[in-house]
Symmetry: C2
Subunit: 449 residues, 2 copies
């Protein structure tokens, strides 16, 4: 096979654009086909502004593409969770060690930056309004429809399906024998609401925090945007006493917000309007396997869509790209590399899918729980004293490159240890004692041995 | 809504045809659209003869349709498992009480009988070579392509997707929001082989048994056909040391059969030819929910495809029809009846999916195990003495109309009790004792209390 290859990337979203850059830097000839119009020319996020939390895995993949500094300029660090208790109390809970942060970025802004970076390569061509309707896994050909419904067939050496949760490439794989697939919608959906900037463009809530209003069965969150606004997202059940099914009109919704999120409501002047205009979106977990059929591979959400509660959807997709290129760069047999990629990455995709659902429970249920906050303090203390022995699960996922599957495994061990520690009736008075410290470390060493 | 309704049934297989008969008997106007050609005119089962085991749930649904006697004429009772041990020993293990049997029927023959019965109604129209390509759940319209690729749109009051494991109607539901779906291929596939009849048309194996050659990781089974032949099915892993991947040629396959199934091999004169000609098919479990979108409902394999190891695929589909009509017959609000149908039936579909996988392990693993055979004897004895207290799981599933979900629950209780009984070191000598009997009954009563 020739040294430089023809690559077709289906999907020009975040992962597709980054993937194009990785291939382009290595001299391959890349064509990217995106179903939607060019986001640099038209707004494509009707009623959903969507911001994402970039963390270490995502940054690493961007750094390897030479984009870290550029993206940092459109990202806002969030150093802690800002928890708005039902009592009105506001509690800060650091995400990690001092200086560690996750970064709020706009999905649209990041996508545009990545598309521009890809477009700057001579060996990258971008096509928009191209819908993937057929993939031939034998001949490595993809058929697209353009905006006038003309058929275009593209043949290349390798095809990558980076076309998101509702991937057309995956849809074609589903027609092949022995393709395992699951789409699972969770009980909750979401609606976005916007908090405008203050009179002088200033932030009306603390801007270096991810705000959470945890309310057990549901929660509101808010992430800062560059322009001084916040994007709020209400995660709320579809059915039940308090649900999208019962908050049918803006008046009822306002009353509900008044009772549950009065401080947020006070910052949304046109609440009724937003409530009526903005859609309710559902949340889906997608699992499938295999990810590779001959010379066609799935990547990012197309291979593993997860719920957003760990802020790892994009980060895991970016890490897919990085892991893929570790394998492609180290051997000449790409077919073998693709097989290794799917085998290596599948357990990590499954792990982050599980972790994200766990974090939903934690965010809406537990951040309001004083015992949970104490546990986090104990864990942070142990981490500081024994950094080689104890990294909290959240930090492993967010601020490290430990495999997700490994992080999940270690996290379960931590849970087990902390459960017995937190069950001590005197834990509130002795949490900083040497006794507790020794107990944790002894248990940890016993398990690891 | 008018009293008599227009019904569109997508799929003219076993469940579709039976469903048509149920609706027709009640005076509704039924149109059935089948993707394949009319099986009464052409053979549609290339390389797969497929026979099925009809049991009590299936018979009940056929009885209610007035078809029991007719179908009995094309069905062969199998009263026991005929187990071909690796040692060459042949062991009979009754399926139930004396007289109880499951019945071998040809899928093709049964389908033809049901289509003829449906066709006999003036208010049923059958269409073949009609592929469902689109469903509009708002207008209750289905678009079909005929064999010349002409589009036909059919509007009706209700649509039923009885179009099997790879249902087109379900494919359309998958495009609607919050539709949960899973397709899971198991590690094993199958290949069919035929044992011809003897010189005078006689059966070359015992004809009132379902023959099993259990070999732990794989198994061969054989079911009798009306013409004196047997259809053998080899259930075999796709990958691994002994697998479809390694038995690549007929010579290697013959050698393997000689070592593992020599008595069966001796009855297949053209083994090499069959091995090469007959395809390897995969086995898929399909779960989804909801089953109903407005006036469109899924039924049978379209709603819940399972593995064949409990012989309940068709039976559960037929029971779907019966349960559906219990609900439709008892109320005028069909939309409500459809919602009740999906809520009632989903847990039973999940249960039989699990039970069928469990029975795979049991069939290939345990039927060769003397301890398992002893356990079956003890259970049969308890059942005979305490018929109101103890029905073995297999009998609940096969010879009763207890909900599958209930059977699974009770089966787990039985497992728990029998585990401790079978762990007694002296069980072989005292299995018929009053002590064992009392222990089982006491435990059972304790759990049920």
């Amino acid at each position: 096979m020739k040294q430089k290859k023809d690559i077709t990337i289906v999907g020009g979203g975040l992962v597709g654009a980054l993937l194009a850059i990785y291939f382009a830097k290595r001299g391959h000839k890349v064509k990217v086909f995106e179903r939607r119009p060019d986001p640099r020319k038209t707004s494509v996020y009707a009623g959903r502004s969507i911001n994402l939390a970039l963390s270490d895995r995502g940054w690493k993949a961007l750094r390897d593409a030479g984009l870290e500094q550029e993206i940092k300029r459109i990202a806002l660090p969030m150093y802690h969770r800002g928890i708005h208790q039902p009592s009105g109390e506001y509690v800060r809970q650091p995400y990690g060690q001092p200086g560690q942060a996750i970064y709020s970025v706009s999905r649209g802004g990041l996508n545009i930056a990545l598309l521009n970076a890809a477009d700057a390569f001579d060996n990258v061509e971008l096509f928009f309004n191209r819908k993937c309707v057929e993939v031939d896994f034998q001949t490595t050909e993809v058929k697209f429809l353009d905006s006038s419904s003309n058929e275009v067939v593209v043949k290349s050496d390798y095809i990558f399906g980076a076309d998101g949760a509702f991937s057309g490439v995956r849809g074609e794989m589903m027609k092949t024998d022995r393709f395992n697939y699951q789409q699972e919608y969770i009980s909750h959906g979401y609606k976005e609401l916007n908090i405008p900037a203050g009179p002088d463009g200033q932030f009306l809530l603390e801007n270096n925090a991810l705000h959470i209003w945890p309310r057990k069965d549901y929660m509101l969150i808010a992430l800062p945007n560059l322009d001084g606004t916040f994007t709020c997202t209400l995660f709320f059940p579809f059915e039940g006493e308090y649900s999208f099914a019962t908050l049918t009109d803006a008046y009822t919704a306002r009353k509900f917000f008044q009772e549950n999120f009065s401080d947020a409501l006070a910052l949304i002047p046109d609440f009724e309007n937003q409530w009526q205009q903005n859609p309710v979106s559902s949340l889906c977990i997608i699992r499938c396997y295999p990810w590779v059929r001959n010379q066609t591979a799935l990547i990012g959400d197309a291979a593993h869509a997860i719920v957003p509660f760990y802020g790892q959807g994009m980060n895991s997709g970016f890490e897919d790209v990085e892991v893929l290129f570790q394998l492609l760069d180290s051997q000449s047999n790409w077919d073998k590399a693709l097989d290794e990629y799917q085998k290596l990455r599948k357990p990590d995709a499954d792990a982050i899918a599980d972790l994200a659902m766990r974090n939903f429970i934690e965010m809406r249920d537990l951040t309001a729980d004083p015992k949970f906050l104490l546990q986090k303090k104990i864990e942070a203390r142990i981490q500081q004293k024994y950094p080689d022995l104890w990294t909290p699960l959240y930090s492993m996922v967010t601020f490290s490159h430990i495999r997700y599957s490994e992080a999940l495994k270690l996290g379960k061990i931590h849970d087990q240890i902390m459960e017995s520690i937190m069950n001590r009736p005197d834990i509130h008075s002795i949490w900083e004692s040497e006794e507790i410290e020794n107990e944790i470390i002894t248990k940890l060493k016993a398990i690891k041995a």
